[in-house]
Amino acid sequence: MRDTARVAVVRDAAAIAISTGVYAIAFGAAGVSAGLGVVRTSVLSLLMFSGASQFALVGVLGAGGSVFAAVAGALLLGARNGLYGLRLAGLLRVRGVRRIGTAHGVIDETTAMALVQPDPRLARLAFGVTFGLLYVCWNAGTLIGALGAQALGDPTTFGLDVAAPAAFLALLAPRLRKTPTEVRVALGGAAIAAVATPFVPVGVPILLATVAVVFG
């Protein structure tokens, strides 16, 4: 019985990792389209390892935004990983040096996989296996997408400049199906950003959009 549960965990983790790999290809293409080049795009996936934050960072830089706006956007999107860490701390029970490596894997998918397991041992297995497989697929996918986009040349010819907003939409969609609050916050955020665009430096409209949360 325990073995079947373990096999199921590995199978689910592999499925998540492969679909994330496809998302990573889109990120790799977006990074190169934004002008970051193959090396910086790949280093970002290795070190930041948080999809939405990475997309935001290259999106703002690609549009000509400042380092501050790009980093602030990435950090705002990365804040939820802090909450995941709080929830996982009691479950994973990692101490000392091991916490340094474990922390890198605290993202949407690993947290979701760990929290649905019926007992702590399976949760730790789910976290570790999902982290490992996803890390490999995420970075391999990034490299493939970045090299591919570089080989294709001008990203606009292939509509690659729409890949990032389309990817955001696909990420956002499941959340909009939850409650009307999410829809209001999304529409408010988009409206604030669009209206602010002509008046403030590039990248800042994204940060201003957080105001929509207060009214949501």
């Binding site: 910086r40 070190l47 930041m48 948080s50 939405a52 934050s53 997309f55 935001a56 960072l57 999106g59 830089l61 549009a63 380092v67 790009a70 956007g73 950090l75 705002l76 999107l77 990365g78 804040a79 939820r80 990983n81 802090g82 995941y84 860490g85 709080l86 929830r87 996982l88 701390a89 916490r99 993202i107 292939f158 509509g159 400049d161 729409v162 890949a163 907003p165 389309a166 990817a167 955001f168 939409l169 696909a170 956002l172 609050t181 999410e182 916050v185 999304a186 408010g188 955020g189 604030i192 950003a193 669009a194 665009t197 994204i206 201003l208 959009a209 957080t210 105001v211 929509a212 949360v213």
Partner: protein
């Protein structure tokens, strides 16, 4: 060079969130209001990114082939198409429109 700074500082910051969460005293900031805010911030930011990257060119707003691509993406999402299909359909529609236009 500035892009490298953004990559490295952003990565360190994002890692700090993760480690901070794991290392913080349990239930330290785990209040419903905080959680709600952190859950909704990505919704506002993602929507803002969609708007800016679809209609923005620097500090100007334009409706061009990208808008058509996004419209196709919306359609694909409404049909519950998988992630890859949404992205490829949007890119293909935009590329096609540029080829024709």
């Amino acid at each position: 060079m500035t892009a490298w700074i953004a990559v490295l500082v952003g990565s360190i910051g994002c890692y700090a969130w993760k480690l901070g969460g794991l290392a913080a005293p349990t239930r330290w900031v785990d209040r419903p209001a905080v959680r709600r805010f952190v859950e909704l911030v990505p919704v506002a930011l993602l929507a803002a990114l969609i708007a800016v990257q679809t209609f923005g060119s620097g500090r100007a707003l334009h409706v061009d082939a990208r808008a058509a691509g996004l419209a196709v993406a919306v359609g694909a999402v409404l049909l519950r198409a998988p992630f890859v299909v949404v992205v490829i359909a949007a890119a293909a529609a935009t590329a096609l429109l540029r080829l024709v236009g």
